[in-house]
């Protein structure tokens, strides 16, 4: 019994160490009001939003995004030009220090394909990878519309 307990303790210690490392890495970027739009039934694609703030003194270029919960995540922008609305892919997102990058409906967004679970969780983690290879993990909430 006590052997199992110490094993559990060790596991939880390892987990908290791992968590501490992750949250240490997270500190270079903050995303406020991070949310993913709950898709209409039968719809497998959705958009994610939030305000990205670079907390470091250096430029951070996000070149990729991924999540264990989704098939794929990418950077997109919707635009209305001459009355025509269209959407295109962005290769990367540049975060300048003290210059928040806003992702909001009708503009820049995360283009997300296919939730891997049958039941929608309350939130999901999305990992952003910068040009130097560092990972920045962000929790997103599922919401029907933008947070008030």
């Amino acid at each position: 019994m006590s052997k199992t307990n110490s094993k559990q303790q060790l596991t939880s210690l390892l987990f908290s160490l791992l968590f501490a490392c992750t949250s240490y890495a997270q500190q270079s970027i903050n995303v406020s009001e991070a949310w993913v739009r709950i898709p209409p039934p039968g719809m497998q694609m959705m958009a994610g939003y939030g305000t990205f703030t670079n907390l470091t003194g250096n430029t951070i270029e996000l070149v990729d995004a991924q999540s264990v919960s989704f098939e794929s995540v990418g950077f997109h922008i919707s635009e209305v030009v001459d009355g025509i609305s269209s959407m295109r892919k962005l290769d990367s997102i540049i975060l300048q220090p003290d210059e928040p990058a806003v992702f909001e409906p009708g503009s820049r967004h995360l283009m997300i394909y296919t939730l891997k679970y049958d039941t929608q969780p309350e939130g999901v983690q999305i990992d952003f990878i910068d040009k130097l290879g560092a990972t920045h993990s962000v929790e997103f909430r599922f919401l029907k519309s933008a947070p008030e």
Binding site: R37, S85, P105, G106
Partner: protein, 203 residues
């Protein structure tokens, strides 16, 4: 990035559509004071079409008789602009209803009939409001209908996953109780201004 033929269509439609709206306005003595809506004086009769509603019944001017209709064009596989607009229209309609105007409806015309079957539209729209009406049909019939009202769209080529986006006019038409186009909202718009202008135009 933008398909060149789309630009061509946009220019032609701008020439025949928007100009004729504006000429219409100039010919009239006093336009309605609105926040963001363009008001058409005189109103323009809507062309009939061969399209169908999500319940399988034909979509015609009779659908719009005795109602005020907000008509938007889009596709259900659009993850950003379309759900955002449907959400806005949901809010606009509820504000207009609170002002005592009960006969307002929303019509969503698909510009992507291959993926937007009547059943798919029903499922999609019920997420926003059970009363919203989805309209689809054969691509050629959708093209004919949209062309008649100066709305354009163009399909992109599929990406590596097979997904394709559709560029489309970001316009919301206001259609009066007689089935005539009474005005339009050009992007950007917000739900409150749409509601206030609709209340004003409705009179």
């Amino acid at each position: 990035m933008k398909p060149p033929y789309l630009i061509g269509i946009a220019i032609v439609s701008a020439a025949i559509g928007v100009t004729s709206y504006q000429l219409g306005i100039q010919n009239q003595p006093k336009p309605l004071a609105t926040k963001i809506a363009t008001v058409l004086n005189p109103p323009r009769l809507m062309a009939e079409s061969l399209l169908v509603q999500h319940d399988g019944t034909p979509f015609s001017n009779a659908t719009m008789r005795d109602k005020w209709t907000l008509m938007f064009f889009g596709f259900t596989y659009c993850p950003d602009i379309c759900p955002t607009t449907m959400q806005s229209l949901m809010n606009s309609v509820s504000k207009v209803e609170q002002a005592g105007i009960e006969n307002v409806q929303v019509v969503f015309v698909s510009v992507d009939p291959e993926r937007d079957t009547p059943e798919r539209l029903r499922e999609y729209l019920s997420h926003f409001n059970e009363d919203f009406i989805g309209v689809t049909g054969h691509l050629a019939d959708i093209e004919e209908f949209t062309r008649s009202i100066g709305v354009v769209f163009a399909h992109h080529s599929p990406d590596e996953t097979g997904y394709y986006a559709v560029d489309h006019s970001a316009v919301i038409l206001v259609i009066n109780e007689k089935g005539e186009m009474r005005g339009l909202f050009s992007a950007p718009y917000n739900w409150e201004d749409i509601a206030d202008d609709l209340i004003n135009i409705h009179g």
